[in-house]
Amino acid sequence: MQVSRVLPILAVSAMSLLFFFGCGKSDSKMKSNWKGGLLTEVGSYQRSSTGVLVNVWIDQEHLVRYSISAPGGRQLIRSSERASAYSKWIIYFDDNGWLWFDSSDIGSSVAKKSPDGTYQEVQISDQPDLIRMMPQEFFDRLPRSIQARWKDYRSRIGK
């Protein structure tokens, strides 16, 4: 079969697969004995040590959303980031209760927890202080070009 005839067939097959199976996983799951750390799937995650609940979901616009709630259910922050769920994304919830978010669609941000327990969402571009504070596991999953640019900030503190 000629290559010119194979390619359209491959394309049609691919599109068929895409429509049948390519809509991503949006099924919600509850994990109650969660110790924090890396999240790459939607769901509800309750930290066993503090009872803080992190919810991650994909909304109607197909954007990745998250919220953090106190053990009593009071919502502490709801993301305003508009990262496409079609792009790669990760979340890391660290030991300080900070939520680090990265999307290959729009970049990185962090939901910073203040001493009074309130949260503030900060977009990360080239802020050395935030780059230094990034958890290593989160940093290791950033695009290599971003890592290369930011590693100098981190090497100054020996990470």
Binding site: L10, A14, L17, L18, F21, G22, C23, G24, K25, T40, E61, H62, L63, R82, A83, S84, Y86, S87, K88, W89, S104, D105, I106, G107, S108, Q123, I124, S125, L142, P143, R144, S145, I146, R149
Partner: protein, 116 residues
């Protein structure tokens, strides 16, 4: 002029525009750079802009989508594709007339529709 901000277009998976969706702040976000020349004319201010626009983004596959895996698998058959940064630049001029803080006349990009 030197302005940087986050820009966004439609989200989706069916066109290249949709896959771009938002600019990537780690790659430079959306930038407008260039020159603005002000020429007062009575009570109006005429401004001529000579600007360079940049859409800075990243392209990579999302392993959560079987469509991405499928297409990436096909590409891997032919060569070894990598994630990459994309920087789309274009230059465009425009003219604006401002009176009492309001734009009363505008011409050029992005005010006029682009001819295809």
């Amino acid at each position: 002029m030197n302005i940087t901000f986050h820009a966004e277009i439609e989200n989706g998976y069916s066109t290249g525009y949709e896959m771009l969706h938002g600019t990537h702040r780690g790659e430079g976000d959306f930038q407008i750079r260039g020159r603005a020349t002000l020429t007062p004319d009575g009570r109006n201010n005429n401004i001529h802009y000579e600007l360079r626009y940049s859409w800075n983004d990243r392209i990579d596959k999302n392993a959560k989508y079987s469509g991405d895996n499928f297409f990436a698998g096909i590409l891997h058959f032919f060569y070894d594709p990598k994630d990459y940064a994309i920087h789309i630049h274009w230059k465009a001029d425009s003219d604006v007339t401002v009176c009492d803080g309001k734009i009363i006349r505008s011409n050029g990009y992005p005010f006029n529709k682009v001819k295809k």
